[in-house]
Amino acid sequence: MPNTLRAELVSLSNRMYKEWYNKTVLVQSCDNSWEGEFDLDKREVDIPIYHDLTVHQTTLKEHELKPATVEFVRASTKRVSIDKMRYSHWGETKISTLINKLSANDSIVREKMMNKWAQEAEKELGIWCAKLPNKQTIDLTDLLGGNGVLDETNVVHALDILKAHAISNKYTPEDFKLYVSEKFETVLRDSKILTGANLDANEAFRKGFVGYANGVDIRKIEIPEITTRNSNTKLVDAEWGIWKTRDGIQYVVPYKDTINYDISPEQVLLGGKGYQSVEFYDFFNLYPGRLQKVKIRYTENANPPAL
């Protein structure tokens, strides 16, 4: 009989990955493709490159259907180094107890830990986006004119500005989605322009879905670190929104497992084995035009946090 304990740890890791991943909005919105197998020693993996997709033109008279060298869609990849890792130590040194505890459908520990992992992943990605350089910034506080406050009277104009930026960069605005806080949703509701006209059957059930407004797909994220909140009401005064396509961020998790490590007798009586769930991951922005941060102000003079 094969070693089922090892398989149970593998099963547990996969289950945990699915659980935390499904709790995210921003992380789920990223392209998660990679090719080949993760090289654990070099920590390298190949991620697809989309920018070299080409469409060739010819005329039927010329009949030159292969004017360029042979190429295939997604034929090229880029080798990247995986630099990040998340892990949690589990407070059990007996593997069977650990598996029984964490594998249970109603494991509170696992549920809480996966919430934490999801929050941390969202937070890390949100902060990273908010730190993008100025050339990847759309400053609505400036572009809206006046005091730069976004409200129900100018939200359509603000969305027009975002779409215009995509068009000017030769992208299709429909490929972009806007990730913002709950305050933006309030503004949209006040403006009464939120529609579900473009909904497919499952859209409304996707995590973070707010709706379509002025042709823009809007998603709600909950990352306190990229919002400025009123000290009394805690409502959002300003924030960094994220305007991106799916491949604007390539977020890969090419390795996930639950592994053991030695615990010295100084740490635990008689020593023993400890267990930790580990994931290697990283995220990349290969196409700056497909990822932009949006400076939004809802209250006069308020600014999103400087990170």
Partner: protein, 218 residues
Amino acid sequence: MEKEKNFFEDLLDDTLFDDPEDENENVEDTELQEEEENQGEEKQDNGQEKRDDRSQKNRDAEEARKRREREKREREKVKEIEEESKRVQKLGEQLVEFKKKYPNVDLAELDEDKNFKRFIEGKLLGKKDFTQLYEEYLEVKAELSGKTTEEIKKNYERKAQSSSGSSIAKEITTPTDVYSEEEFKKLTEKIPYMHPSEVDKIWEKYEKTLNYYKNNKR
């Protein structure tokens, strides 16, 4: 029917199977004693009673009240006995229905199954009938063991057949929908590196295989 009635009776509410007469008899004895004492006291105070009509009336009213209470208790006792026999009858009917649906399952074996009895404790004669409880138990057991309900059911049927001396050979189930040991071992090593979409494709079978080997190992 009488035979089936005997199974699982111990799971019915214990108080209903206690003889309620014993308790009531004790209560009655105490009351009679009280009455006798009252009567003795009455004789002593006869002179006074004659002089006091109001106290006489009070005593009459007290006796009437006690009589009413006694009658009420008797009615309740009869009602309880009737209810108890109805419950036993109902359980018997449910077991007969169960035997009709599952003729191969040995009720005596099931009656001895501690896990099953723990499972149905408090649920018997509730919203679900015995057959439904048995089916639910099979499902729960299947979930926990990773086997299908059919496999669990077959185990029970085999038990029933062997206990009744049947010569039907035991079925040997060869799992065709699980990975071989070699495949399983390779996948276990590979899954941590696999893309989630690739893992999704094999996941159901992998989990099934894991449960299969886990259960067969123990």
